[in-house]
Symmetry: none
Subunit: 227 residues, 4 copies
């Protein structure tokens, strides 16, 4: 009944080093820039490849070799950069959430009208989500990984979603509207788009965001339409 995941001896000990490997500190950790290293950053390449593959095929559906191939490396080499597949997932997550946070915070900066702020946040969230640069795993944190890892993951995600919680707190909503349910439903509507949106289809990314914002307005006390 207990499923084991891999045989990752290095998981615990090695994770510490990398887990907080934000873009910030791999700038400092870079040593001996040999002439052999192509591209500006192998590590970035790997993250990008992993991000896309995880998003497309899921965590279990993506093999380390897939990621390696997409990064132009052999699978063994990945382990120089990341101690385990799970760690790579965590990093991808973190990067994704950071990117989303940036996008959303930038989008709402300087706007004060509450509904307008929400509109922009929704638009930003959809924009980055459907841009294909973030991982589907963000959205569906697999509950079955070892707990330590997932807790961190979930905490990060919750931190990000707190932005929306704050936005919603500022909204005048009908009294029987539960703000938590509202937030989660709204995020659901947005996140779900990854399963049906297709680039180049009838609806543009922007239009998708606009429609969700439109739908969500309804909970307002007086259901005001956008002006």
């Amino acid at each position: 009944m207990t499923k084991t995941v891999g045989h990752s001896k290095a998981n615990r000990n090695a994770r510490n080093k990398v887990a907080r490997n934000t873009p910030a500190d791999n700038k400092t950790a870079r040593k001996k820039p040999k002439f052999l290293r192509r591209g500006p950053d192998r590590r970035r390449q790997i993250i990008a490849a992993a991000s896309e593959l995880f998003a497309r095929n899921g965590f279990e559906g993506t093999s380390i070799r897939d990621i390696a191939a997409a990064s132009g490396v052999l699978s063994g080499s990945l382990y120089y950069h990341f101690p385990s597949k799970e760690d790579l997932l965590f990093t991808v997550h973190q990067e994704s959430l950071t990117a989303m946070r940036n996008e959303v915070e930038t989008a709402i900066a300087g706007i004060s009208e509450p509904w307008k702020r929400l509109d922009e946040a929704i638009a930003a969230h959809c924009r980055i989500l459907l841009g294909g640069r973030v991982t589907r795993a963000i959205l569906t944190p697999p509950r079955y990984y070892n707990l330590r890892g997932v807790r961190k993951l979930v905490r990060q995600r919750d931190d990000y979603e707190q932005i929306f919680a704050n936005l919603i707190d500022d909204l005048p909503l009908k009294p029987d509207c539960d703000r938590q349910a509202f937030r989660l439903s709204m995020l659901g509507a947005m996140n779900w788009t990854v399963f049906w949106f297709s680039a180049g289809g009838r609806l543009s990314v922007d239009e998708v965001g606009r429609q969700i914002a439109l739908m969500v307005r309804g909970a307002a006390k007086d259901a005001p339409s956008k002006k």
Copy 2:
């Protein structure tokens, strides 16, 4: 070092009937209850177990052995009932969709007011979804299976969702509201609940449905509140 997969503990409660047959007590309980679980019940048991596991862990995240163990059989025995894991998934899908269709159609039968019909449909969808009897896989058809199989799957799901399309067609919506986007967003809000709803939490299943219905009302031309 082997990592354990978290939820393994949580499995117990959901499987009391079957749990007796785990490898652990094989040694003592063997041989006697073999023929007791015969008949078409076995098939149902397997479908139920698979449904739950697929829902919790995804298709790739669920092993045939997991399903077998949860059904009180050995892995080889599954193949007496289903020709392949994929086939099992398809069956689970079909059953899930049939169950959902029944629940929803029953719920809206005899109701004529369009918004009320939608309310009931939402409630029914959430009810069955969060009852744990349907598979997350319905919701996120993995694109990478063999195409023939998936096409069938997607067609079935689309057939089901057509119910909602029809419901929405009858709704008086604001002119700038795209009915397709509306439907997909609404389904997203509902389907996403499987990722955050927890039974016994603050919100009941019914309340969740009510809140989604509430949110969604906003897109109405005049945003009428429930009476």
Copy 3:
């Protein structure tokens, strides 16, 4: 390095019963002819089906279920008639060899000229071999089965081939011709036909036999020797 074949508990004990199950004594062993039993003889049906399948796909390439299906039974039922797959093979063998022996002995009966006798024996051997009623396994006794079984098999085959040894003994051959090598090469030429002969092709079964007889004549005393 040691491969186990199945988990056939019943092999030894049960084999005794069946191993000498010639057509002769299953006529006596037949009891209670219920109205349910279709066809003259289930047992024969199974042997026929097995014979053809072994011949076409080899021993490992044929599953008990294949044989069962081809006999109109379920796999479990085969075990009423034969204690194991290997035993079935042995029976098939025996039947094949008996059939071949009959065919060959009939063909040469009443002929006295040694070369003519050989011609007829070759023709008969090819006839029955290419008639599809005997198993390829006769020809290539897999050396890796449990020794007891194979030894019996090989003995049977050698008994049959003794007919040819006798035929050859009567032949006036060149002094440097080794009669054993002659026999084995000739049998090789004949047996190999199963790998290339195709019914309905340019050459008839009879013609194939004739050509082999023709080729083989070369070893005659008065054939031209190497210079």
Copy 4:
């Protein structure tokens, strides 16, 4: 009860070089000689082991684990060198055919008398066949593999056998001798030797070849025909 597969004992002598790496002594000999068997030799070792095992036990009768064990590797490692068992078979085939072609072409080079050329070709074919370095599978292409693969196999084999067709074309044969049947029967006589020849027996490899050549001469124009 588990049956052992006979020849397992006979494996030892043929595998002395590698046998050290069997599971048995893994415990003591581990970790040290890992990198010693690197390089393209591994590939050769695997091909050699596979060739022998396929020849002895057939394709279905040989497990990937058998081959791995005989190569001093674990089964998973084979897949680093060959993408599939079938692919390994194809490679073994190709190597075998190449080896045979070389041997035969070398043997007949510089000889002009047609019968003498055939004698040498037969000798060469038998020599390499009975040297144990080629696979029985060459000879009996199992018809049930995926068609694409088998077709390639068969084509290769036919290419090789074309050498003999050419040789035979130069032969003055009796008018009623079918040259195709002659070739196939002759090849049958040769190929069949793998089923009866035993090294160290009464007949040497060379003698076997000589005897087949002798037998085959019968089809010569001036050999005595049937009366």
